[in-house]
């Protein structure tokens, strides 16, 4: 947008100190889709910090979104512990074999070193490269798998969910470990110039109950956010899928921004909008070429509602932009949102 004076760094900076900007930041969660744009396969994207950074820069050049994202998959920390993941050229990694087969193993596990374990160094390198290349104009968001989701990757999703019922102490032990691992990774991402964003897809209302969220996910999300708040960092929490059943609990996490997915935006504004900035929530599947979903209308609607949110709003997708999203649709979404203006500005 040629008439824009403000860059993404400036826009986010103002939003985070409760100041009005020219328009809401437009930040679709462009993660692995960047690899498609860049023309590289996802194995390289996941394994090479340079490729990841170049792909993100390329995607930002094409789309002009407000912010750069470092994220490959939610298994990142679990893999660094020792779980086995299958990296695929055309899709995101999937869990092959969780590390913890026997609860007794938990006591022997060491926190992975971000500088050497698994693909964590790739992550740090990507953050550092992006910050060095464009950190003055673009914030660099480093997505950190939250403790609950990483625990599922360490134990296997079904087994871990069973643990929460049958062996809650074991579940908490694993969560303590994954919390500490996340803290360590956060530290390195911060030092590389990235602002941690917590992603907890397994803590979704689509997967777990309100009770399980309250008991096993929330305390660890909060632990992580408390640690980051001590450094005065503003933290975004992303939970995929349904979150209606836990919406009232989101402020208790102390997240500064909540990235929501399958949730009525107006309801979210009403319930928590005076305490939390909202990020969302264009359906990602609407960006697929043959989805049959319109793009323009939902964006306009989201803007109309979101821009009224007392604590602030970021126009985004409800979840990651699909790997093979339609470029024109994504551009339409972004450019539509960029035309918005706060009248008071």
């Amino acid at each position: 947008m040629s008439d824009e004076r403000m860059n993404a760094r400036e826009r986010w900076g103002l939003l985070l100190i409760d100041e009005l900007t020219d328009r809401p930041p437009v930040y679709p969660l462009i993660t692995s889709h960047a690899a498609t744009v860049h023309g590289c396969n996802l194995i390289d994207y996941c394994r090479d910090g340079r490729v990841l950074a170049e792909a993100q820069i390329e995607a930002q050049r094409i789309y002009g979104q407000d912010g750069l994202t470092v994220f490959t998959d939610v298994g990142l920390i679990a893999e660094a512990f020792g779980s086995r993941y299958l990296l695929r050229a055309e899709d995101v990694p999937i869990l092959l074999e969780p590390l913890i087969q026997n609860p007794e193993q938990v006591d022997d596990l060491a926190i992975p070193e971000p500088q050497s374990a698994g693909r964590l160094p790739v992550y740090i390198e990507a953050v550092d490269r992006l910050f060095t290349a464009a950190g003055d104009r673009q914030p660099v968001f480093a997505f950190i798998p939250a403790p609950f989701t990483t625990a599922a990757g360490l134990r296997g999703t079904e087994t871990f969910l069973t643990d929460t019922i049958l062996m809650p102490e074991t579940a908490h032990k694993i969560l303590d470990l994954t919390l500490n691992a996340a803290l360590k990774l956060c530290d390195e991402c911060i030092l590389a110039g990235g602002l941690p964003v917590l992603v907890d897809p397994l803590a979704s209302g689509s997967v777990i109950s309100r009770h399980t969220f309250k008991e096993f996910a929330l305390p660890y999300i909060k632990g992580l956010i408390d640690y980051l708040h001590r450094y005065d960092l503003d933290i975004m929490l992303h939970i995929c899928g349904e979150t209606k059943n836990i919406l009232d609990l989101i402020p208790a996490t102390d997240a500064d921004l909540f990235s929501l997915d399958k949730l009525d935006l107006a309801a979210a504004c009403k319930e928590i909008g005076s305490r939390v900035r909202l990020v969302g929530n264009i359906p990602p599947n609407s960006l697929l070429a043959f989805s049959g979903h319109p793009t323009f209308g939902p964006v306009e609607e989201a803007l109309t509602i979101g821009m009224q949110n007392p604590k602030g709003f970021v126009l985004s997708t409800g979840c990651e932009v699909p790997i093979r999203a339609d470029k024109e649709k994504l551009l339409t979404m972004i450019n539509t949102a960029k035309r918005a203006r706060y009248v008071e500005w």
């Binding site: 400036e10 103002l14 100041e19 910050f131 950190g135 003055d136 911060i190 110039g193 450094y231």
Partner: protein, 545 residues
């Protein structure tokens, strides 16, 4: 809280050390303490926090490892947010341009009113390692032929670096031409600017001796401790900081050359004008008691800074980094948006430095004493010099107008309102002491005056060399640098002069760093040779060859 081994550490180490800072201390370190319930006023955070939000240079700098320095950095780096928060809290925010700290005591004397200098945005492109503000300024007509203060114009245009000021004032006349260009640009952006006029101070330019000091003695800093300067007092007739006593005798001699009273009165009239604008802005009448209380705080701050400058000339190891000292010196401009907290921050720094001097604790291996002239827009340069073994023992950062104590309590002309003074001088006489302080500026007069300051500082601090960091395009630098270099070299002080390189010009920066390295190496050799000569009884008393 003091740490046993003063060191300069990087952002990574501070990030780790920060975990050991007690929660209670973090929670109690706040600005705007008159707003105790707000959640945003914490500021004791490590450099890594500010790195994440775009201040990329912090990853390359080295910081003092004391909690006092951490607090200072946190306070300085949170100024931008503080200005926005001030507006949100209903305070009036005044943008002041050009005078660099001369009129802020008056602004802060109004209730709920703070000031800031857009001029100081010249550091932002360096801290962020960014050309964004310069490119914006270039689009508005100010490009590389203008000083780095052009970043301020970019800041006004982008509306993301400070809140929209409630009042925008600028000083014209004997001020920086580049800043005047910026101010004109700001007006073109549609911002109403109100002007104060600062007359040229016509120093007699017959010789250095006659020229110096025409109005104000420079601060009594240096290796030899001067108790009168510490207290601001006037023992044995020596000048107080601000040189009140000396001024009077000097004025007596120079009366026929300098219309000093006219200048003072004229500037006081300008201050009176500003006073009126502030009354209109705040709806509050000027209040002498409040003004006196503010001046008292400002004097405390100025004295703390002067004492700090004295302390770092200690014969022991360097007790504090040049960057922290730069931050401290520039606190005198607008107090980083919170005068009370600024005083507390510098008090703590002062305690730390005092303790270190007493214990002879400091950084090892910084033995080459340097006088630094003109503030370096790129903070990295100060670090670099220290890394090579240099130590900044004296500075002339062009902000002399912020150093004198403002003699409101003792100056009978300030005992207003009184009928007699009203008749004699008019209402503006309240501001005569403030005007006197403003007349101490080194930017508002001859180069000879500044040369005199440089020579005096070099002598008192026993500097082994001098560094002048200029700015290509800056109006005062090209004219002043050459005579400064000449005078310093004639006085036997090796001098390095260069223009600070803009962010992103990697090759030019590399060349500059080479020059600095060679200079420090040369000074080390001279120093070592001098030690040898001294052993043979050949060295002169100043330790130079």
């Amino acid at each position: 809280m003091n740490v046993p081994n003063p060191r300069q550490i990087d952002w990574r180490e501070w990030h780790t050390l920060f975990r050991a800072i007690p929660d209670e201390l973090v929670q109690n370190t706040r600005y705007y303490r008159h707003l105790p319930d707000v959640e945003w006023s914490l500021y004791l955070f490590p450099p890594s926090t500010h790195t994440v939000y775009g201040n990329r240079l912090l990853r390359k700098l080295r910081f003092d490892n004391s909690p006092a320095a951490l607090r200072l950095w946190g306070f300085v780096l949170s100024e931008c947010e503080r200005l926005y928060r001030a507006k949100q809290a209903g305070m009036k925010v005044v943008a002041v341009m050009g005078d660099l700290g001369a009129v802020t005591p008056l602004i802060y004397s109004f209730p709920n009113t703070i000031a800031f200098y857009p001029d100081c945005l010249w550091w932002t492109p360096f801290l962020m390692e960014s050309r964004v503000l310069f490119e914006e300024a270039a689009m508005l007509g100010l490009s590389e032929d203008c000083c780095y203060v052009r970043a301020a114009l970019g800041g006004f245009a982008r509306r993301a670096y400070f809140p929209r000021p409630d009042l925008c004032i600028a000083t014209v006349g004997a001020t920086c031409d580049d800043m005047a260009a910026v101010t004109a640009g700001v007006e073109r952006l549609g911002c109403t600017v109100r002007y104060l006029e600062l007359p040229h101070r016509a120093d007699r330019e017959k010789s250095l001796q006659q020229c110096y000091p025409p109005f104000n003695s420079p601060p009594q800093s240096g290796g030899e401790k001067d108790n009168s300067s510490q207290s601001g007092g006037e023992k044995d007739g020596s000048p107080r900081r601000g040189g009140e006593k000396n001024n009077r005798s000097q004025i007596g001699r120079d009366e026929k050359y300098h219309p000093r009273d006219e200048l003072r009165s004229y500037i006081a009239g300008q201050h009176l004008k500003l006073c009126g604008w502030l009354e209109d802005l705040t709806g509050a009448k000027f209040n002498l008691n409040r003004y006196s209380a503010t001046i008292h705080k400002v004097n405390h701050l100025r004295k703390t800074i002067a004492d700090l400058k004295d302390l770092i000339t200690t014969s022991g190891p360097n007790p504090m980094g040049a960057l922290e000292m730069l931050n401290a010196e520039f606190a005198a401009l607008s107090y980083y948006g919170d005068l009370d907290e600024c005083c507390a921050v510098l008090d703590e720094l002062h305690k730390t430095v005092e303790w270190r001097v007493k214990k002879r604790a400091g950084y090892p291996n910084q033995s080459v004493k340097l006088l630094w002239l003109t503030p370096p827009a790129d903070p990295l340069l100060l670090n670099y010099v220290e890394e090579l073994g240099g130590r900044i023992v004296a500075t002339e950062y062009l902000i002399n107008q912020t150093t004198p104590l403002i003699s409101i309590e003792n100056d009978k002309t300030a005992q207003l309102p009184s009928d007699e003074h009203h008749r004699s001088f008019g209402r503006e006489s309240i501001f005569l002491p403030l005007s006197e302080a403003q007349l101490s500026g080194s930017l508002i007069s001859s180069s000879d005056y500044r040369i005199g300051l440089a020579l005096q500082y070099a002598g008192k601090s026993r500097a082994n060399g001098a560094v002048i960091s200029g700015v290509f395009g800056s109006s005062h630098c090209p004219y002043e640098t050459a005579p400064l270099v000449e005078a310093l070299r004639q006085a036997g002080i090796p001098t390095l002069a260069f223009d600070v390189v803009a962010p992103g010009k990697v090759r030019m920066q590399a060349q500059l760093l080479n020059r600095i390295e060679a200079f420090i190496e040369m000074l080390k050799n001279r120093k070592n040779a001098n030690i040898d000569a001294d052993a043979d009884g050949d060295a002169d008393e100043r330790g130079r060859i």
